[in-house]
Symmetry: C2
Subunit: 303 residues, 2 copies
């Protein structure tokens, strides 16, 4: 089991994309600058997508250009197509995150592309990025199950991972998009992926739809996974799963690992202060637990 | 790892004891009768305590006498003292659950007794129960940490487990009373307890204060624990930890194990229907996840 994990914050992308009210750019920038100073390994800043598709991220360039670049922090952006890649490169992101779905039905519903079409588009995007210093990550949605089709089978995941590596993409995020994963499945699949492709860098992107976000992160950690996406306050959700709650909560995940004696590099009290501010920014309750209860180190006076 | 686990429902005791409104006895009885038919292994029906201490459980006898006794289900009641034991025996409970705190400061705050005083009282209660068929369980509060003192050290827990076994109590519940446990601690401690005392029957009683209820249950399961307390809908809480949320949620726990392919004996759809009714009974939102999102087997039509 690793003794150090890396927490990758997705709140300003995955969290904000489904917020009903527009979050002003200066709030995003201030939040990202505060997050960058808590010890998080990576920030998924925004998405270079169509403003019509995701109105809340219509200020991608403005935010990307206004934020500080704190040393040691990777600044990543989601890129859905060649045009998005050009926009991201113009803003000098450190990493481009490409998204495809392991399930064709989910890919068609969410991206209007089958897995095969997504892979072809990835090749086109990679051609644009060639010769730049940008790192490439691919996020594989519905890795642990599709809300339309159900389980996809490990063979399908192995084959897609092989195709991604074949394209030269060595960073792969295993997404439990609608929170269908269970700990045994996560541990088994992650162990197999790490054994087959030790040269790849895998991230677990867990959702907390059925309350299993932390248990699944624990299972992935037990299998040897070192990198975890998470969203401050647990903000987020998936439009294709009604009733679904959001991403696994960053401060709850950091708290779990730190309590276990596993270093995250994150200053948890600082992260909790940023989460407290997030509540004011979005103007609604956040599902995170530690924000309400305090850490397990909290002591009370008897009586 | 075990392939079968046993889920022990505590909602009508641990859940209801802190509800502000009195739950009518007929609602309790109907709820318990419905729960007994879902495949749960044990029901902690009520507490034979002072009506002043816990007004919501002032109908302990009435409820205990009115419920059906479904074959295969153990009917348990919490007993705080000799008088409570006599009352429980008069109602022919299957199991008496005694409670003490591993931490003296918590014991004094919660029970007005040090661990030593609790053990002496257990001996007096056992004398009353001698010659009856009743089974005895002891719940060890703050096993994984005390909100006043912090970590207690494994030596303290081992010594108290040894004392309980010495009294002839072979069923012991490890309670994470205020949700301070972390998965590494749970797995390590449970593994050691099961190795040292294979003849004992240990239960994990997890709270979800910091969102770690399911992750801690998973860790205990990985160590070999087969028995888990849980509360329908996640109802419950601890008055000594402000901001604390409740017990680990029964239907979420059953869902996790069933998704992992671990048999619980519980009919999850039936349990979810009972949880739905519970929401109407208590008149407020319940923190359970699967109740909102549906199980991971739920399918959607694309588009």
């Amino acid at each position: 089991m690793p003794q150090r994990v890396y927490i990758q914050e997705v709140v300003t992308r995955d969290g904000f994309q489904s917020e009903p009210r527009f979050i002003p750019s200066e709030h995003k920038v201030a939040l990202l600058n505060a997050l960058a100073r808590t010890g998080l390994a990576k920030l998924e800043v925004t998405s270079f997508t169509s403003p019509k598709a995701i109105p809340n991220l219509r200020d991608a360039e403005a935010v990307m250009r206004a934020i500080d670049r704190v040393a040691g922090v990777e600044y990543c952006a989601l890129v859905p197509n060649v045009k998005g890649c050009e926009r991201a490169l113009a803003c000098e992101v450190d990493e481009i995150n490409l998204v495809m779905s392991a399930s064709d039905s989910h890919g068609l519903a969410n991206l209007r592309m089958t897995a095969e079409q997504s892979l072809a588009q990835f090749a086109a995007i990679l051609a644009v990025a060639e010769g730049t210093q940008v790192a490439i990550n691919a996020s594989l949605s519905t890795t642990f199950g599709c809300p339309f089709e159900g389980a996809l089978g490990e063979a399908r995941i192995f084959s897609l991972v092989e195709r991604l590596l074949g394209l030269g993409i060595a960073r792969i995020t295993l997404c439990d998009t609608t929170g269908m994963a269970n700990p045994r499945q996560v541990e088994t699949l992650c162990r197999q992926l790490l054994t087959r492709w030790p040269q790849a860098t895998f991230t677990l992107h867990a959702h907390d739809t059925r309350g299993l976000g932390l248990a699944n992160a624990l299972a992935a950690f037990n299998a040897g996974i070192e990198r975890f996406d998470a969203s401050l306050g647990g903000l987020g959700g998936c439009p294709y799963a009604p009733g679904a709650t959001g991403n696994v909560c960053s401060e709850d995940l950091v708290h779990m690992f730190e309590q276990m004696g596993v270093a995250t590099g994150v200053d948890l009290p600082a992260l909790l202060r940023v989460a407290e501010n997030l509540q004011a920014i979005v103007g609604h309750h956040l599902p995170g637990y530690v924000l309400r209860a305090g850490t397990a180190d909290r002591r009370y006076a008897p009586g």
